[in-house]
Amino acid sequence: MASELEPGGPEITALLVAVENGDRSAFDRLFEAVYMELRTIARRQLRGASSADTLSTTALVHEAYLKFSRQASWSVENRRHFYALAARAMRSVVIDHARKRGRVKRGGARVAVELDEQLVAAPERAADLLAVDEALSRLESADPELAQLVEWRFFGGLSIDEIAGLLDVSDRTVKRRWRSARAFLFQDLAAQGIST
């Protein structure tokens, strides 16, 4: 298991500091810890929820934050970094899975289709998601600030308010930036031939 880190333990704070100072390995360890925690939380939610419920990314990420920050009093910087990590982690989870589904769909080496894998998600959704991810990568090259915003909002499930708080900017600014990012992505996806 990649993370032996106890959520909320003192190491988390140290890691966050290290991440702030640009320590790449600290980022990877922290990312791993957050990733695992998100999955754990998600699975527990899935078990407990009634079939009508859907997962809330927001709730997932917040619960993870609460867990990690239980004993540490985190600075805004720390918080911002954590949410950035969490949103990135969520993006990884979803996109990795979408890629896997895409492979299955393209008819790879798998022989047996298990019962209910077929029952779940429409495969084209996975393809669309991968397209969004690619568009987001291009946005990252063009404008990292906007890309970060999209990651937080779309994958991390954070609200405009929360993002404004974390970035210490007005809601209006976040909304304006979101609108720019959205226009870029739409234009990019349209050029890829994805309609939404």
């Binding site: 298991m1 999955r39 754990t40 699975r43 527990r44 899935l46 078990r47 929820a49 009634s50 079939s51 859907t54 997962l55 809330s56 990314t57 927001t58 969520m90 989870v93 979803v94 899975h97 979408a98 769909k105 008819g107 798998r110 022989v111 047996a112 289709v113 298990e114 019962l115 209910d116 077929q118 029952l119 779940v120 998600a121 429409a122 959704r125 996975a126 669309d128 998601l129 969004v132 291009r138 090259s141 063009a142 404008d143 999209v150 909002r153 779309f154 994958f155 991390g156 499930g157 304006r176 609108r179 720019s180 959205r182 226009a183 870029f184 739409f186 234009q187 990019d188 349209a190 939404t196």
Partner: protein, 967 residues
């Protein structure tokens, strides 16, 4: 897509954010300004504005949750290398406490669990179904099926124990906990031999069969559902579970719903993939896939699971590579040989595309596997032929039935018309059942001998015994089945009879007669009795045979049948009985044959009518009335040639008999044409080694010997004797007859040693049997005497001749040519003893017996030769010369001169001898050369007789020696 330039995008973004909230008119004015200054930037801004307008607030607004909720759920719920199970371990699901997570599969998680309420100490497997499945529907189906599934008790099937709904609303199923390894992994790990794999499959099939008999279909059999435990016992998991988990698409051919069906494409039967009715045959198919995998080490088909439609389309293109081929391709020749034949066939049958072509059930599959292991013939038919036949039969039901019987008839070399007559009275359904049986025999034979060549070599006898065995096993129940069974008994009995296996034929006909005798006597019973009688007669039960024929006729009288073919056939057979029985039945036989002809003729040309003509011909031939006999045989041949669908062997049989009459009429050339014609037909029809061919060869051999071509005769007679001896034993009348012919031919050919050995053995064997002795003792003794004389044993020859004469007299009467022969032989003995007076006295007796002339030209010539030799001995040279010239004249004048070379040679030799004594050297040399030329053409090269004659007649030798020689 190219990566945008950040500086460029930053500028566009700034203008976009400035302009986005402005009213359209103001926005356009500002854009005009930008366009004038930087048209490219303006285009970028315009693009963003257009995208903004098109996207709207909702685009990406709901985050990934709203975008792809299921995907996220699935992504986060996905199993991983070390699933954190601490969260649920120890949790209660209904009355069960979860202990260890055993695995995560398609349906959800499987836990090892135990009863928490202390009711039983039982460790179970608990299947916790995944969220997202239609819980309510599954539960409803579970409640419906639970009773049935719970009743399914079999040592090789994991039981369904319980089921319910967990606290979180997820359904769960509780199954018997099984520790084991999937069957494919188990076999691989142990490198288990094929036989062991088959044993496992038999156990699996039997378990599946038990479930099927409770009307439970598994629907999702695959190695991961077939475990083998530490003791090597198989255990099937998830029986009936698939049905619980899927909708009932039984009558829905909606292929788009493939995803919702519980199936594993690699193991799914075509009908399952198409969404058609799922039956027990569906499980048989999956069992076939598993067996294929166990034998070939790979799946039978690569199925593209990309889309439901693609999967269905792919079915049509699937062609099965036989497991033996897979093994061969993998370089395992030993395994390939093991799989070729039965196993390939069985796997193919289980994997048949159409459910109806598979094994009827898992039990039948298991049976066949067991048969294979036991080395018994398997019931699976090679797909190629079986399937095509089935299709063909579907199209031409009755035609095929006829063809099948005709085929079987041809295999054993019998008349096709019989089968046509037989089939004509059958309803299509019965005919179809029979054709199935007949083809089944060929298939059983083929499967037993996968090598085609070996299968073809199967003798008809083996095939028929196989048939009889199958028939005895059958227990007909319905009236149609009984009718078919009876028809088959009749058919097989007939075929046995044709092969000369009359014991078997009589046994089958007796069974059939016994069945029929329960009903009112009818034409059917009459026919069976006649058939039984024919066979009974041939195995020496002449009395029983006659009783059968007479009873058949009485039955026909009783039903006022005076004109039927049936009656004609019974009359013929009774006639044949009288004809072949010893004693004076010939008159009665002739009467019956004539009656048979009269009854049968109005029915048109038929095998029966041809035979009636032949029967009459045989009687007339024995009168002897060869002219009338010839007419009868010709009528029979004409009938046979005109009879529809009759085997040409019947025609050939007519020619064979005709040739005998032609021999009796001294028409050797006609006789030879006839017999060679018959033989060619037999050979073409039945082969060189067939009894019919060899029998015709016997006749041809005798004809060749009788026409002074003994060397040519020898191989035909030898082969005929080998067959008769093997078939009938050495002392059967027919074997004795051929032995006699062969001994004579050897003597004529000059093989004196062989001739003597044969003649001596023949005489000894004949003496042991009173009836044979009375019948043939005279001719055999006479032949021995002649042979002894030829080898210089004069006293012994005299002794045998003395023995032969009374026997010949008793058997053939005073005027028989045999007595002429005996008299001539006595004269020859006297001549060799140099008692010319005795020779003349004996010749006078011969002449007296024949009223001055011997019976045949051959005898007359020989008479003259003997006279000549006697006069030569007495020094009466002119008389000797006259007799010799007469002999030459007789031989030269004979219409069948080319068939009388030995007589002519002997005549020239006599001329040469007289000329030598009279010192007319040139004349003697010329006559000797003629004689030697004829002897060389007739006698066996290198034989003692020819060597002797060459010494005597060679012009280089001195004539003095020749003149001294008595004969």
């Amino acid at each position: 897509m190219k990566r945008p330039d950040p500086a460029h995008f930053a500028a566009a973004r700034r203008y976009f954010e400035d302009l986005a909230d402005l009213p359209p008119s103001t926005r356009e004015a500002r854009l005009v300004e930008v366009r004038e200054r930087d048209p490219e930037l303006a285009r970028a801004v315009e693009g963003l504005l257009a995208a903004d307008a098109a996207a709207g607030e909702s685009f990406l607004g709901a985050a990934v949750v709203g975008f792809a909720p299921d995907l996220l759920q699935e992504a986060l719920g996905e199993p991983e290398a070390n699933p954190p199970e601490a969260h649920v371990q120890g949790m209660l699901i209904g009355p069960y406490r979860l202990r260890v997570l055993l695995g995560r599969g398609g349906m959800g998680e499987v836990w090892e669990a135990e009863r928490a309420d202390g009711q039983f100490e039982q460790v179970v497997a608990l299947k916790l179904l995944k969220r997202g499945m239609d819980s309510a529907a599954i539960l409803a189906r579970f409640l419906r099926e639970r009773q049935i599934l719970a009743r399914l008790e079999h040592p090789n099937i994991a039981r369904l124990l319980d089921g319910g709904v967990a606290g979180d609303g997820r359904p769960y199923l509780v199954l018997e906990r099984v520790e084991g390894e999937p069957i494919d992994a188990w076999c691989r790990r142990r490198a288990s031999p094929v036989a062991e794999r088959l044993q496992l499959m038999i156990a699996v099939c039997e378990a599946v069969d038990t479930a099927h008999r409770s009307l439970i279909v598994h629907r999702d059999l695959k190695p991961s559902n077939i475990l083998v435990d530490a003791h090597g016992r198989v255990k099937l998991l998830d029986f009936g579970i698939a049905k619980l988990l899927s909708d009932e698409p039984a009558f829905e051919a909606d292929i788009t719903r493939l995803e919702e069906r519980a199936l594993t494409p690699a193991y799914a039967a075509p009908e399952q993939i198409r969404g058609e009715a799922v039956t027990t045959a569906t499980d048989v198919y999956a069992l076939g896939v598993v067996l294929y995998e166990l034998l070939a080490g790979r799946l039978p088909y690569r199925r593209d699971i990309g889309s439901a439609a693609g999967l269905v389309e792919g079915l049509e293109r699937e062609t099965l590579v036989r497991p033996s081929r897979v093994a061969a391709a993998a370089g395992d020749a030993r395994l390939s040989r093991l799989l070729a034949g039965d196993l390939d066939t069985m796997v193919s049958k289980a994997l048949a595309r159409e459910p109806a072509r598979r094994y009827g059930g898992a039990a039948a599959f298991a049976d066949d596997l067991q048969r294979h292991l036991d080395g018994r013939p398997v019931l699976a038919r090679p797909d190629r032929v079986g399937y095509r036949l089935a299709k063909f039969v579907g199209r031409h039901r009755v035609v095929v039935s006829v063809a099948a019987l005709a085929l079987l008839a041809m295999v054993v070399g019998t008349s096709v018309s019989v089968w046509q007559a037989r089939v004509a009275r059958l309803e299509a359904a019965k005919a179809n059942a029979i054709q199935k049986f007949v083809f089944g025999l060929f298939e059983v034979n083929r499967v037993r001998n996968p090598d085609g060549a070996k299968a073809r070599q199967t003798t008809a006898e083996e095939l028929l015994k196989l048939a009889a065995g199958e028939l005895e096993k059958a227990a007909p129940e319905t009236s149609t089945q009984r009718a078919v069974h009876a028809e088959l008994e009749d058919t097989i009995a007939d075929l046995f009879a044709d092969l000369g296996l009359h014991e078997e034929a009589v046994r089958l006909w007796s069974e059939l007669a016994h069945d029929l005798e329960g009903q009112a006597p009818d034409a059917r019973l009459a026919e069976v009795l006649v058939n039984r009688g024919v066979s009974a007669n041939l195995i020496g039960k002449a009395y029983e045979a006659r009783r059968d024929f007479e009873r058949a006729l009485a039955i026909l009288d009783g039903i006022a049948d005076t004109t039927s073919k049936q009656r004609g056939w019974a009359l013929y057979n009774l006639g044949q009985h009288y004809w072949s029985a010893p004693g004076k039945g010939d008159e009665r036989a002739e009467e019956l044959f004539r009656a048979a002809v009269a009854v049968l003729a109005p029915h048109g040309a038929s095998r029966e009518l041809a035979n009636a003509h032949y029967g009459l011909g045989r009687v007339l031939e024995s009168r002897p009335d060869p002219e009338s006999a010839k007419t009868a045989f010709m009528a029979g041949i004409a009938t046979a040639e005109a009879a529809p669908g009759i085997a040409r062997t019947v025609v050939a049989g007519g020619f064979q008999q005709l040739s005998r009459v032609q021999v009796a009429m001294q028409d050797f050339s006609g006789a030879e044409t006839s017999i060679r014609r018959a033989m060619a037909v037999f050979e073409e029809f039945a082969g060189k080694e067939h009894r019919l061919t060899l029998e015709a060869g016997n006749d041809l051999g005798r004809l060749l010997d009788a026409t002074d071509r003994p060397v040519e005769a020898l191989p035909f007679l030898e082969r005929a004797l080998a067959d008769r001896r093997a078939r009938l034993g050495p002392v059967h009348t027919l074997s004795i007859s051929t032995r006699f012919s062969l001994a004579q031919a050897r003597l004529h050919a000059g093989d004196l040693e062989g001739a003597l050995a044969d003649a001596t053995a023949l005489d000894r064997d004949i003496a042991a049997d009173e009836r044979q002795l009375a019948d043939r003792g005279g001719t055999v003794a006479l032949n021995l005497a002649r042979t002894l004389l030829a080898t210089g044993q004069i006293d012994a020859a005299e002794e045998q001749l003395t023995r032969a004469q009374p026997l010949l007299l008793a058997r053939f009467g005073e005027e028989s040519p045999w007595l002429v022969e005996a008299g001539l032989l006595g004269s020859e003995i006297a001549l060799v003893r140099r008692t010319p007076d005795e020779v003349r006295a004996r010749l006078a007796a011969v002449v007296a017996r024949t009223g001055g002339t011997a019976a045949t030209d051959s005898s007359r010539a020989r008479l003259e030769l003997l006279r000549s030799a006697a006069d030569l001995e007495l020094g009466n040279l002119p008389a000797a010369g006259e007799s010799a010239a007469k002999a030459v004249a007789i031989a030269a004048a004979e219409p069948g001169r080319s068939y009388r070379r030995l007589t002519e040679a002997a005549a020239w030799r006599a001329v040469a001898r007289v000329a030598a004594r009279e010192e007319r050297r040139d004349e003697a040399r010329a006559a000797a050369a003629s004689a030697l030329g004829l002897f060389r053409a007739t006698l066996l090269p290198g034989s003692s007789r020819l060597l002797e004659l060459e010494r005597e007649l060679d012009p280089a030798k001195q004539f003095a020696r020749m003149a001294r020689s008595p004969l």
